[in-house]
């Protein structure tokens, strides 16, 4: 608006100066510069704004309009081998092996008729400052996509976590103390066999600080687990559980 007013004033100033002259000479003296000034003074400011916007949008259209620019291609998740360590905000996770077994007492998974137990042995080290309850995070941290979501009985297929050494179920993980755990799933007996490759997905939780909402500074929770790495494991079939090392775990 201010721009328009300035132009109007310029035109007003120009007009009285040329008033005493006769129309012919006035027309002679109207240089293109003056003409633009006068014309600009007569054009409403909104038109200028609209025109500028139109030009801008027109230029934008040349680069794909106002749609979101395509982001960078998501990087493919790393595929780890057994024994390699994946680190997220909560844990150092080293997945060691995958074992198929008829049943694994003490693991927290009780196979139904026609099911066996898939056990993944991993070492978890809590790298936070607080004790973490393993079972609160293991379900989302360790997933295997190819396993069916439902069991023969119609129940949801869920994983369990236990310590390998003394089969404590759902152990607390103390800061900086590495713990070997076994994560187990019930699987249909005919789904997997010895030598098959199974892809384990490791998901990372994100720390959410309640201080953002005016909570105390120490308060936080772990939210939004998202896939962060894969581990390809070759399945070892130990039949009925002759591997005595696994029996206790």
């Amino acid at each position: 608006m201010r721009e328009g007013e300035a132009f109007t004033q310029a035109a007003d100033v120009a007009a009285p100066a040329s008033a005493p002259e006769d129309p012919a000479s006035a027309q002679k003296r109207t240089t293109p510069r003056q003409w633009i000034k006068v014309a600009a003074g007569k054009v409403p400011a909104t038109w200028i704004t609209v025109a500028a916007t139109a030009v801008f949008l027109g230029a934008t259209a040349g680069f794909g309009g106002l749609a979101d620019a395509p982001g960078p291609e998501p990087e493919p998740l790393p595929v780890l081998a057994a024994g390699e360590t994946h680190t997220n905000q909560q844990f150092d996770i080293t997945v060691e092996r995958a074992v198929l077994i008829d049943e694994l007492p003490g693991s927290g998974t009780y196979p139904e008729e026609g099911e066996r137990v898939l056990a993944v042995v991993a070492t978890l080290q809590n790298i936070t400052d607080d004790p973490l309850l393993s079972s609160q995070f293991s379900e989302a941290t360790f997933t295997i996509e190819e396993l069916p979501a439902e069991r023969p009985s119609g129940d949801e297929a869920t994983s369990s976590i236990a310590r390998v050494d003394d089969s404590t179920l759902a152990p607390w993980l103390q800061p900086d103390v590495p713990v070997q755990v076994v994560v187990t799933w019930p699987v249909p007996a005919d789904l997997l066999g010895a030598g098959d490759l199974v892809r384990l997905t490791l998901s990372d939780y994100e720390r959410y600080d309640w201080a953002r909402l005016g909570g105390s500074e120490d308060d936080h929770s772990w939210v939004d687990p998202a896939p962060a790495a894969y581990v390809d494991l070759e399945i070892e079939d130990v039949g009925a559980g002759a591997d005595s090392e696994e029996d206790g775990g």
């Binding site: 400052d129 003394d166 152990p171 800061p175």
Partner: protein, 196 residues
């Protein structure tokens, strides 16, 4: 004094007041306790062998020791290092809620929970009024807890009832110098039986 210098003085005075107010605001910010302050629990320091009284809790730390490996009468054993805190506790006014849900060890910024393994060693029973019970809380420590460092010299064990709502509750604390404790020998944890 010329009017000009008076104006200068005037403006200098304004600046002084402005800067002074900013400094004062900084002082107030620095002195203000953090947002957690009004909700802090009340610590009750316990010395070895002396009973400490907190809300509905009378607790005596009897012994603090270390172990390289812990075992129990049921054949369980776990490699350490372990910190063992033997204590005697009783309720004072109410038994219904008198369950020690929160037994923690704080080393620097890190917090350790009394171990849940072996399950039968975790003291989870309710306390009784007038019947002191003895139990041992075991803490599984990281290897670096054995080093000589400032934070290891000032570890703190704390006992309280409510693990979730900690605000404004009282908590019995006992300071432990981990560098003065020997973690060389294995130990056996007594059964979880209370009152022996």
């Amino acid at each position: 004094m010329s009017p000009l210098s008076a104006t200068h003085l005037h403006s200098a005075g304004r600046w002084a007041i402005g800067v002074g107010l900013v400094a004062a605001a900084w002082g107030v910010m620095a002195l203000t306790p953090d947002t957690d302050f009004p909700k802090q629990p009340f610590p009750v320091a316990a010395t070895l062998g002396e009973p400490a009284e907190a809300r509905n809790l009378r607790l005596t730390v009897l012994d603090v020791s270390g172990a390289s490996e812990l075992s129990d009468a049921h054949g369980w054993s776990g490699p350490g290092p372990w910190l063992l805190v033997e204590f005697e506790a009783e309720a004072v006014s109410e038994e219904a809620t008198a369950s020690l849900q929160r037994i923690e060890l704080r080393i620097g910024d890190r917090t350790y929970r009394a171990t849940d393994r072996p399950l039968f060693a975790a003291p989870r029973e309710r306390l009784r009024i007038g019947l002191p019970a003895t139990a041992t809380a075991a803490f599984e420590l990281p290897i670096d807890a054995l080093e000589d460092s400032a934070q290891n010299r000032r570890a703190v064990v704390s006992f309280a009832y409510d693990d979730i709502n900690r605000q404004l509750d009282s908590v019995v604390t006992h300071e432990v110098d981990l560098t003065q404790i020997s973690f060389a020998a294995p130990a056996e944890i007594p059964d979880r039986e209370w009152s022996r």
